[in-house]
């Protein structure tokens, strides 16, 4: 039998703001700098040819140093997605994250991994795996991941085949 909780005891609240500053590192800084020029940079492994975005020094597959940078086109394909409808505090701002929003995993053309980012489309009935997408950049860019505004659905014949279904 579960025991009953005893009568409510006192609590102490803490509402401290704890600021942080994270280093993007050598390759991350190059990636973020490139975003200012509307370019998507990836790293390629000289040993196993793997292409990863964002770029990184160590190859995730063979652990060799990745020394080559490649520019990827701003286009790719959606491999999964969700529409976030749950309310929560964004640790970046300390404020509620604006909801609902849609994001997904995007496989850039020429990359081996996927990239997690916002989708422009907010009607989830119009989103499906396999959508072709294109990165849209902010007007004013600051060397931050949010220099990418979102990924926009590219108009194609594949979309019209889609029948709407209930996801709400």
């Amino acid at each position: 039998m579960p025991e009953k909780t005893r009568e409510e005891q006192l609590t102490v609240s803490a509402n401290s703001a704890l600021p942080y500053r994270y280093s993007a590192g050598q390759y991350g800084s190059r990636f973020l700098e490139a975003l200012k020029n509307k370019k998507i940079l990836a790293s390629r492994c000289g040993a196993c040819d793997l292409v990863l975005v964002p770029p990184r020094i160590i190859c995730a597959r063979c652990f060799k140093k990745m020394e080559e940078f490649v520019e990827l086109p701003p286009t790719g394909v959606l491999t999964s997605y969700t529409q976030v409808t749950l309310p929560f505090i964004d640790p970046f701002t300390g404020e509620p994250r604006p909801i609902p929003y849609c994001y997904g995993m995007i496989k850039f053309d020429g990359a081996d991994n996927t990239f997690q980012f916002f989708l422009e489309e907010t009607d989830i009935r119009k989103i499906h795996i396999g959508l072709r997408l294109r990165a849209v950049f902010q007007e004013k860019r600051e060397g931050n991941i949010r220099d990418i505004l979102f990924f926009r659905t590219e108009k194609s014949k594949r979309m019209s085949k889609r029948t709407s279904k209930s996801k709400a």
Partner: protein
């Protein structure tokens, strides 16, 4: 191979969404007292304590210092393990390693979480576990990350929503038989499907709760097991399979193996000499945090074929008394004090081997499995047996 290791005692607290009746050390002591009583031992008989939680939730950084009076680690080796959602299973695996080394006879693993301390903002805490440069701005904690995987799964296999909902119906029915479970009220398929959407396709009643609670499990060598009460549950296999740093490098974006649970299962089955998991494992306590994950993981563990998880649940195979009872305790979807959750799976697997399951006891258990899950989708497995 190290020395043989047995689980000789387990203890769990009363779990609920807000344990305001106890402080953190007091809550931990509740689980520790019960584990010692279950083993027929006292704190003096324990040589070392391995303890862990997910620190962000309480905003406490020396989380090994805090509970020292509750855990009884004062003056003893007391080591902290913190691997996010995996913490509980990592604690069990770490305790196994220490005992298997032969350096200590009895080691207690203690997992705890007072999730209510995060004042309702569990998702915020989970978001901070992920990369701040690229992925945090999009992520909505474990719920949206699980939703991304669930979306890929349901679209690939066209899984009927009712089949996923049945996993929660089964979980709650089992939890009603477990005095330690947090959410024990039965639900229907209709109620699951009518609950609010959190992150498509995951609804409120597809998802695990947040709980306060603690769990303690005592591991021993053969010599250490001799003095204790009850039937030892022998550890036959441990496997820990981490994943890449970025979520974008996992699943369909993976550049190595796509699935850490399949990989952990392969490693664990090899150690335990298991070739037909569905026939050889008598009960499984798996860390499925949502209904879709449970369906998918039944496939990954080899209990059924790809895309068959829903039909497997629908057939009743995973119910107590079914072909392979899965989460007779009600599982994570009914009780989830994060740092303790994985260790509860191990405790429940041991309880099934020791025949201490009461109303939730599955029949004829000789081999039991426990899994842990966390981080960017890494997985851990322990296989226990009534045989040494």
């Amino acid at each position: 191979m190290g020395y043989p290791v047995a689980i000789i005692g387990t203890g769990q607290t009363y779990h609920c969404s807000r344990r305001q009746d106890v402080s953190i050390p007091e809550m931990i002591r509740e689980a520790v007292d019960r584990a010692l009583a279950n083993a027929g031992l006292s704190n003096r008989d324990v040589d070392a304590v391995i303890i862990g939680n997910m620190e962000h939730f309480e905003g406490i950084n020396l989380s090994d210092l805090w509970p020292v009076e509750g855990s009884g680690a004062f003056g003893k080796p007391g080591m902290k393990v913190a691997t996010g959602g995996c913490t509980g299973s990592s604690l069990a695996i770490a305790a196994y390693y220490v005992v298997a080394s032969g350096l200590y006879n009895r080691v207690m693993a203690v997992g705890w979480e007072m999730l209510s301390a995060s004042a309702g903002e569990t998702t915020t805490g989970i978001v901070t576990a992920f990369d701040p440069i690229y992925e945090r701005s999009t992520l909505a904690g474990a719920i949206s990350a699980l939703a991304i995987v669930a979306c890929e799964y349901v679209e690939k296999y066209k899984i009927p929503l009712e089949q996923a909902a049945l996993a929660m119906v089964k979980a709650r029915a089992n939890a009603a038989r477990n005095p330690h479970a947090h959410l024990r009220k039965p639900v229907t398929v209709e109620e699951v499907l009518a609950s609010p959407m959190l992150s498509y396709p995951i609804r409120l009643l597809d998802m695990c709760p947040t709980s306060d609670g603690a769990c303690a499990v005592i591991f021993a060598t053969e010599e250490g097991a001799r003095k204790s009460a009850g039937r030892p549950a022998w550890v036959q296999a441990v496997a820990s399979c981490h994943n890449h740093t970025y979520l974008g490098d996992t699943f369909s974006g993976s550049v190595t193996y796509k699935n850490t649970l399949q990989e952990a299962a392969r490693l664990a089955y090899k150690q335990a000499g298991i070739t037909r998991p569905q026939a050889e494992i008598d009960v499984a306590e798996i860390y499925s945090p949502c209904t879709y994950a449970e369906l998918q993981w039944l496939e990954d563990l080899g209990f059924c074929g790809p895309g068959e998880g829903g039909r497997f649940v629908e057939s009743g195979a995973t119910e107590i008394g079914g072909k392979i009872p899965v989460n007779p305790s009600g599982g994570v979807m009914c009780t989830n004090p994060i740092g303790a959750t994985g260790l509860i799976r191990v405790a429940e697997a041991a309880i099934q081997i020791r025949g201490e399951g009461g109303d939730r006891q599955a029949p004829g258990v000789r081999t039991a499995m426990a899994t842990g899950f966390g981080g960017s989708f890494w997985n851990e497995i322990l296989i226990l047996s009534s045989q040494r």
